[in-house]
Amino acid sequence: MNIMLDYIASMLIFGILILTIARVQSNINTTLYLNTQSIITQGNATSLARQIEWDFLKIGHRVPGQKIIYADSTRLRFRSDLENRHFIDDVRYRILSTSELSATFNPRDFPLERETGSGTIKQNFGLVEFKLHYIDSLFRPIPMPITTESACAQIKGIYVSFRVEAPEPTVTAVDTQWAAISWQKLLFPRNLNSLYY
C-alpha cells in the first residue's frame, strides 16, 4: 500500500513539475516572439517615419510653379527635386487595398505605394492606418480632396498619422496580440512656407 502511495505521489509531483516547466517555457517563447515582432514593427515604423520626413519636408524644393498637385486623406502628389540633382520628380504617395498584401497573416495591413521618377515601389511596412490632413497658414484644416492649383497652394502643413502592426500575431495563453506602434507628426515643408526666422 505504501509503495502505491509513493508511486501516486511521485507521479503527482512529476506532473506539477512538468506543468511548471512547460508554463515557464511557454512564457519565454511568447515573450521572445512578441519582442521579435515588436522590434520588427518599431523598425518598420521608424523607417516609414524617416522616409516620410525625408520626402514631405522637401516638397517644392527647386520647383518654380505648382508644388502640390493633388492631396487627400490617403493620397498625395507633389513635385520636388528630391535628390538635389536639378531634376524635378513627380512624387506620388497612395495606399493600396488590404488584398494587395494577402501574404501576411494580418488581415488589416495594406501596402504603401511610392512613385518617383526612379520608378514605383510597393512598400510593406505593415500599415493598418494611414491618414493625412492639410492645414493652411492659419492652421485651419483644408477640405479634401484638394485638387485645384489655388487650393493646393494653400497647403502649408501636413499632419501625418499612421499605425503599423506586425505581420504575424503572437498567440498567448490569454489572447492574441499584434505588436503595433503608432506615429503622428505635423510637418511644415520649408518650401511651402515663408518662414520669418
Binding site: 509531483i13 515588436s38 492652421f139
Partner: protein
Amino acid sequence: MLILGAFVLLSLLALSINQTLLSTQTIGLEMEANLTALSIAQSLMDEITTQEFDERTTTGVKIYSPLDMTLAASFGPLVEAGETPITWVDSAYYDLGGTTKPYDNGGILNDFRSKAYYDDVDDYNGYRRKVYDYRMGYFDVDVIIEYVNETTPDSTSTDRTNQKRVSVTVTQFNLSKNQAGVVLSVVLKDLAVYRRFFQ
C-alpha cells in the same frame, strides 16, 4: 524534505524567469512610448517654430532692437492684443453629431485651439495639451518659452534677446523610468532665432 526544497528552488526560478520576461516586455513598451512621445514633441515644436517670432512682428513690422520685443514677464497670449488665452488643458477631438472621441470616428476634427488662437512663439509659454495615442492613451505636454543669451544659449536671460528657447516636455506613465521608478519625461529643446532684420 528534499522534494520540498527542490520545489521551492523551482518556484523561485520560475518567478525569476517570469520577472525577467515581464521587465523585457516593459522595456519594449517604454521604447514604444518614447518614440510616440518624441513624435508628439516634435509636432508641437514644429508648430511653435513656424509661428512669428514675437507679437510685435506679427503685423510684418521689423524689429531692429531686442528692446522692442515682448518682455519675458509678459510671455503668453496678450488679451490686450486680441489674443485668446487657453487657460484649460488643450486637446483635439472628433465630433460626430454630439458624440466626441479623441480618435477619428468619422466626425469633424476639432483641432488643438493653440493653432487658431496663438500667432507667435511666446504665446505658447505655459501652454499645456493632452495628446491621445491609440495604444498608449493620453500624453501630457507642457511648453516653456524663455529668452536665452545669444552667445551661451544654454543659459536663460532676463533681458530680451533675439533668441527664444522652446522647451517641450512630454510625460506619460509608460515612458522610461529611473531606478526609483519615477517617469523620465521626454524633453525637446530648440531655439527660435529672430533674423528677419537681416533680410
